[in-house]
């Protein structure tokens, strides 16, 4: 869906009027650019929403920019509401496992976003740097899209980590680094890698280290596969894990699989260079 600038300018003019409270006839280029981005963002939101099944509205086969913008703006508001509901659902049981970045981003940052987000004049600005690195890249997204994706990712991580004993999570994090509380790292990824490591080594998932036999088994398993087949094997292991421990929660499985590509390469390198302890809690 594309509109001519002439079709968008009246919407920007209207926004400028609202922004200045009709007390200023002019605005700076910078502000005008911001308002134009706001209009384009809302139109984009409408388009994304339309893909999900909302019927395209058109008069004489051509969508009306003003109407599309209004519907996009409503979509932004609805997304904010839905994200807030999801956040409120996650936060009472939220565990940050002593990781300061995780805590600051989710517990301190997200409420500030809801407080200061400006869906009318700057919906494209999500205000936060979202420092905690979730497994899905959220940096290409803007505004409520970025925050919504981030909160969804964290909620999935909480489901994943929540079913594991805290003792085990702390065990693998401590093995990863004694400074795990101060590092900007993805906790779910580290824990998942250890669980898969145990499965590949044929050992139980617990806080006890690997025996030499289990370590050998793991090494053989990795050496038998190239990176691609190893990734496929691991995807299968993730599916098994999701089926057995998480009631087949497909969304969580897809989320965790986002880390496997990197993991395969790292694991192969670690085996090759005999430094598996840099990845797994040996």
């Amino acid at each position: 869906m594309s509109f001519e600038t002439e079709e968008l300018m009246p919407i920007v003019a209207e926004l400028a009027d609202k922004y200045t409270g009709k007390e200023s006839t002019s605005i700076t280029y910078e502000k005008a650019r911001q308002l134009m981005e706001a209009v384009l963002y809302c139109i984009h939101e409408y388009e994304e929403d339309a893909k999900k099944g909302q019927e395209l509205l058109s008069i004489d086969g051509k969508p009306v920019a003003k109407r599309v913008y209004s519907l996009g703006y409503e979509t932004v508001l609805r997304n904010v509401k839905e994200t807030q509901i999801l956040y409120n659902k996650v936060i009472p049981d939220f565990k940050y496992y002593e990781n300061r970045c995780y805590y600051d981003t989710f517990v301190k940052g997200i409420p500030s976003f809801f407080l200061y987000y400006d869906p009318r004049f700057q919906p494209q600005n999500h205000l936060l740097t979202l420092d905690y690195p979730v497994l899905y890249p959220v940096y290409p997204l803007q505004g409520i899209d970025a925050i919504s994706a981030f909160v969804k990712c964290v909620s999935l991580e909480q489901v994943f980590l929540g079913k594991l004993p805290d003792e085990y999570v702390f065990h693998v994090l401590r093995a990863y680094s004694p400074d795990h509380g101060d590092l900007i790292i993805n906790l779910a990824g580290i824990v998942l890698r250890n669980i898969l490591g145990c499965r590949m080594a044929g050992k139980r998932v617990n806080t006890e280290g690997y025996t030499p036999g289990e370590l050998e088994w793991l090494t053989d398993y990795v050496n038998q596969n190239n990176a691609d087949s190893l990734e496929q094997e691991m995807k299968g292991l993730v599916d098994e894990l999701i089926q057995s421990g998480y009631e087949g929660l497909e969304e969580l499985g897809d989320y965790l699989k986002a880390d496997l590509h990197d993991y395969c390469f790292e694991l192969k390198n670690a085996v090759k260079n005999q430094c598996v302890d840099s990845i797994l809690a040996i």
Binding site: M9, E23, T25
Partner: protein
């Protein structure tokens, strides 16, 4: 503002007509703008906006400036167009300099008070001292109408 109104007000002809409408009021002060003078001022408005990197969607600031300054004892027919052009340039410049923290009406009111008061009709004095100090006070978050002893 509906689509039609926006397009209408962005039109040069409309702007000139609005400026000329002010003649009905200003002629009692002996001030009148011809078509050419109105066009010239509208052209200068575009240049000023471009120079100050600002966008104007409505009918422009010129009619407001005309109504505010037409009763000034320092403005007469001979310097009317030049003064309006300078005032218009100054207005956009100091909207930027004050970081858009004040409304159009507040800025015009201050300009008028300074022009008729301490500046005694000197546009140079208004621009270089009165408005400069005013913008500085706005940027520092001081009271809008607080006087600075060392300024005048």
């Amino acid at each position: 503002m509906d689509d039609g109104k926006w397009l209408q007000t962005a039109n040069d002809g409309f702007q000139i007509a609005r400026v000329k409408e002010a003649n009905d009021y200003t002629k009692k002060f002996g001030l009148v703008l011809t078509d050419d003078e109105a066009s010239l001022l509208i052209g200068e408005r575009k240049d000023a906006l471009k120079e100050q990197e600002r966008v104007e969607f409505g009918e422009g600031i010129l009619p407001k400036l005309i109504f505010a300054f037409c009763d000034s004892p320092y403005i007469y027919q001979d310097n009317y167009v030049d003064s309006l052009g300078r005032l218009q340039d100054m207005f956009y410049l100091y909207k930027n300099e004050s970081l858009d923290e004040i409304t159009d009406d507040e800025l015009i009111e201050f300009m008028k008070n300074q022009f008729d008061g301490p500046c005694q009709g000197s546009l140079d004095h208004l621009e270089d001292t009165g408005l400069e100090a005013f913008a500085r006070r706005i940027r520092s978050g001081s009271d809008l109408y607080e006087e600075e002893d060392d300024e005048f």
